[in-house]
């Protein structure tokens, strides 16, 4: 099912949109991660056919908002301005290196010796053209991409340098740039995109496939290993699994958790997950913090104590992990001392409700919870929330909406009391925290806290990681005490591949990266 990733804050999703992980391991069967050992040497040659997430891509206009499928399709053709390595450290992409003393003025060295797929050398002006395209009023550029350089000045003093002066310091700029796929916008043909990436574009037949060929002049030595890549577009995840198990495709981007068990016992298939410490996706419960009863922090804390995250883990058949903090445990910004709600504490929840003025044993209030079900676990999670909150006197009426209706109702019209969704932020803590709690990063939450905003601003304003860490520790302390929104466990994400597929990387933003993938004999 492809549904657009309509909003970063709101829905990530789009119909099972999440891709899975990377494929590794020399033996079929079992669950592996991108970090699994790879003893054998890569072999060049061969072709790979993979499905995208369910549905088609939205095109090759890389400055627009992207779905997980778009990201996978774009990464094959285009390079991002900077990249994350497998340990989620920023590394060079189109920008080979950079300097900035104040996180406001940045000087980037454009990688030399890179050519576009038509043989034209890459120059700094190409980046400036891309920025200009984003900032054109009717470009349709994704709001996140506009926000990165909104109000900035940029110039290319020579072919190898881009100087960018932001409107305000932004230590997360490089993280932003990891989601900017550079296309040559001055002579763009959307039907025949040209990039600098590992594969050249051959054909996109809508709802059928996207075909790529190896870029023989790719700037990463020896890569890609594959001679050809085909991304099959399938409308249904069961069908993708059938294609994998019958050998029609070599990899599938996503596997819904109910199918994990049956696939894990198939020796010709390997299931893959991102290493737990780097996983970003989680279920998220929004509460209207500007009106009663959710304007009362005690009630929100009671909610957090009352929900049974262990029970939710069982609802996803043990896949995923218990989680109540939006910051991934592997992040340098994860605060282990921030309030945690991983263990259910019903007594404390009841006590908090009593402090908030709701007598035990009586119905405190009735409310509604709006949710979508493009991820199969969402109905169960909504039902568990409903059952858990009934135990502290809160009656919850569940309202299932089509995803477009959900966005309209919750995000645009703010017509909700509680709303369930899923988020997949970027890796930088500013995005992990901003996605969850910042009102200017998503208007639906309506939570304003000057102390949080000050700490958050301090985290973005400095390039010093120690200072940033301290600021984000404060952010977690404040937000997880006030509980404006509720993290309800990791959203389990899997992909799968045939047993002979190697080094197919799953990015933690839920799309497959084929650059280093190879086929074992």
């Amino acid at each position: 099912m492809t549904y657009p990733q309509m909003t970063r804050r709101a829905v990530l999703a789009s119909g099972g949109t999440l891709a899975g992980v990377a494929a590794l391991g020399s033996l079929g069967g079992g669950i592996r991660t991108t970090r699994a050992a790879q003893d054998d040497a890569p072999v060049a040659g061969g072709s790979l056919t993979s499905t995208l997430n369910v549905g088609d891509i939205s095109g090759f206009l890389t400055w627009q908002a992207s779905t997980g499928s778009d990201s996978a399709a774009w990464t094959a053709i285009f390079d991002t301005l900077v990249e994350y390595d497998q340990d989620y450290n920023i590394t060079g992409g189109i920008f080979e290196s950079w300097t900035s003393d104040d996180a406001q003025t940045w000087t980037f060295a454009v990688r030399q010796g890179v050519t576009w797929h038509d043989g034209v050398p890459l120059v700094a002006q190409d980046v400036i053209d891309y920025f200009e395209t984003i900032m054109a009023p009717d470009s349709g550029a994704g709001s996140e991409k506009v926000a990165t350089i909104d109000g900035a000045t940029y110039e290319a003093p020579d072919d190898a340098t881009v100087v960018l002066t932001l409107a305000a310091p932004n230590a997360a700029l490089l993280d932003d740039f990891s989601s900017h796929w550079l296309s040559r916008t001055r002579d763009l043909d959307p039907a025949h995109p040209i990039g600098t990436g590992p594969f050249t574009f051959v054909e996109w037949e809508r709802n059928l496939h996207i075909e790529y060929a190896k870029n023989p002049t790719y700037w990463k030595p020896g890569l890609p290993y594959l001679d050809a890549l085909t991304l099959r577009l399938v409308p249904d995840q069961d069908q993708a699994i059938n294609l994998l198990t019958t050998g029609e495709v070599d990899a599938i981007a996503s596997v819904d958790f109910p199918k994990v068990q049956s696939l894990s016992s198939n020796a010709s298939v390997q299931l893959i997950q991102v290493p737990e410490q780097y996983r970003l996706a989680y279920h998220y419960l929004l509460t209207r913090t500007d009106t009663a009863p959710w304007d009362n922090a005690l009630v929100r804390q009671a909610l957090n104590h009352a929900v049974d995250r262990e029970g939710m883990l069982a609802a996803t058949l043990g896949n995923g992990s218990v989680r109540s903090n939006p910051v991934a445990t592997g992040s340098w910004a994860f605060n282990p001392d921030a309030p945690s709600y991983n263990q259910r504490d019903l007594e404390t929840a009841k006590q908090l409700m009593a402090e908030a003025g709701y007598a035990e044993g009586e119905t405190a209030f009735s409310t509604t919870l709006k949710y979508w079900r493009e991820w199969s676990q969402m109905p169960q999670i909504a039902q568990i929330v409903q059952a858990n909150l009934a135990e502290i006197g809160i009656e919850v009426e569940l309202q299932l909406l089509e995803i477009g209706q959900w966005v309209d109702a919750v995000q645009n019209d703010l017509d909700y009391e509680m709303a369930l969704t899923a988020l997949v932020p970027r890796w930088d803590p500013s995005d992990q925290l901003g996605n969850a709690y910042k009102t200017d990063d998503g208007a639906a939450l309506l939570w304003n806290n000057p102390d949080f905003d000050a700490a958050f601003a301090a985290g973005v304003a400095t390039a010093e990681q120690e200072q940033r860490q301290a600021a984000y520790f404060d952010c977690q302390q404040i937000a997880l005490s006030e509980c404006p929104g509720t993290v309800l466990n990791e959203a389990p994400i899997f992909s799968a591949a045939a047993a002979n597929v190697r080094d197919l990387r799953l990015h933690n933003r839920s799309f497959l990266v084929y650059t280093e993938c190879w086929i074992a004999s």
């Binding site: 099912m1 492809t2 549904y3 657009p4 990733q5 309509m6 909003t7 970063r8 804050r9 709101a10 119909g15 549905g55 088609d56 891509i57 939205s58 095109g59 206009l61 627009q64 908002a65 009023p137 009717d138 470009s139 349709g140 550029a141 994704g142 709001s143 996140e144 506009v146 909104d150 959307p190 039907a191 037949e205 809508r206 709802n207 059928l208 099959r232 577009l233 399938v234 409308p235 249904d236 069961d238 069908q239 059938n242 294609l243 198990t245 019958t246 029609e248 089509e402 477009g404 209706q405 966005v407 309209d408 109702a409 995000q411 645009n412 200017d440 990063d441 998503g442 208007a443």
Partner: protein, 314 residues
């Protein structure tokens, strides 16, 4: 005959306009703003307004509709708001893919349905008739999405005889194309066969009881001549009605079957375009679907005229 066809073609125009106008309005009432979908969360209001202007969404609905119609009359169905591709060639490509599946499904339906209907009628109340009717009833009642999944599980996953889903152009590799075609064609063809069998049986039974059939037997005509030349031709009129409607539905694209088998035709494209609010593609697909349905109806009426000269227009 030509004036009749011309008159019928002219009569199609208001029907088409009404269908298009209804879909145009209804689709825009569905929640979900395509401009906002393109921009993502919290777009700058000015950027949103600029994009809506660029997409023509800021104009009043009637103006949008008539502009679209004006362009459509020139053969320009616009560009996809999502992928920036021209809609007309996209629809033409998808229609041909759906056409192949529709013809194959109808062929399978006729191949099974016509003989089964004839045999069932000729051997009325025999065990053959009984079995055929039961099978027909089951085939008619089974939802095709369930049948499709079942067929995939049995023939692809269990036995590995045919690929579970996909498509290869016949111009690229005819053999592969047929391998991918078989399962969706069977899935769509079996319910068609069941429906045709039931209609043809009832129609044949009615004809077989007519006086002229007794006359034909009295003249000493052989059974096969009586069945094929006298009974079947007359029984074909109601059968033709149902077949024409079936063809119209098939050519509009089957959303469910095309999705189950990853058959990249008109149905799947329409469904996908609805989910991402790609107005121009949906509007174009509706135009194609409605036109095809109306033309199928016209062909049915012309078929009546061929089969029954009494209703030929004067």
């Amino acid at each position: 005959m030509a004036p009749y066809i011309l008159r019928r073609l002219i009569q199609m125009i208001p029907v088409l306009l009404l269908v298009l106008a209804l879909v145009f309005v209804i689709f825009r009432m569905i929640p979900g703003d395509p401009a906002q979908l393109m921009l993502g969360a919290n777009p700058d209001p000015e950027a949103l307004d600029a994009l809506r202007t660029k997409l023509g969404m800021n104009k009043p609905l009637p103006v949008q509709f008539f502009e679209w119609l004006q362009n459509a009359l020139r053969g320009d169905l616009g560009t996809s708001r999502i992928s920036d591709q021209p809609v007309a060639p996209l629809l033409a490509q998808k229609f041909l893919i759906t056409l192949e599946l529709a013809i194959a499904a109808l062929f399978i339906g006729c191949l099974i349905g016509i003989p089964a209907g004839i045999i069932s009628a000729v051997r009325r109340d025999s065990w053959t008739d009984f079995v055929t009717r039961i099978v027909g009833l089951v085939g008619f009642s089974i939802p095709n999405y369930w049948l499709g999944v079942l067929i995939v599980i049995v023939f692809s996953v269990r036995f590995g005889w045919l690929p579970p889903a996909g498509y290869v152009s016949p111009t690229e590799d005819l053999g592969k194309n047929l391998r991918y075609l078989i399962l969706p064609a069977i899935t769509m063809g079996l319910p068609i066969a069941a429906e045709q069998m039931r209609f043809l049986r009832a129609s044949m039974l009615d004809v077989l009881q007519q006086d002229y059939m007794r006359t034909a037997r009295a003249k000493g005509l052989g059974q096969s001549t009586i069945i094929i030349r006298h009974a079947l031709k007359n029984a074909f009129i109601p059968f033709l009605t149902i077949t024409g409607l079936q063809l119209g539905y098939l050519l509009g694209g089957s959303v469910v079957i095309e999705q189950i088998f990853s058959w990249p035709g008109l149905g799947w494209l329409t469904y996908q375009s609805i989910t991402v609010r790609d107005y121009t593609v949906v509007q174009g697909a509706v135009l194609v679907g409605a036109t095809v349905f109306l033309i199928a109806n016209l062909l049915v009426d012309l078929g009546y005229i061929y089969l029954d000269p009494r209703i030929r227009p004067k």
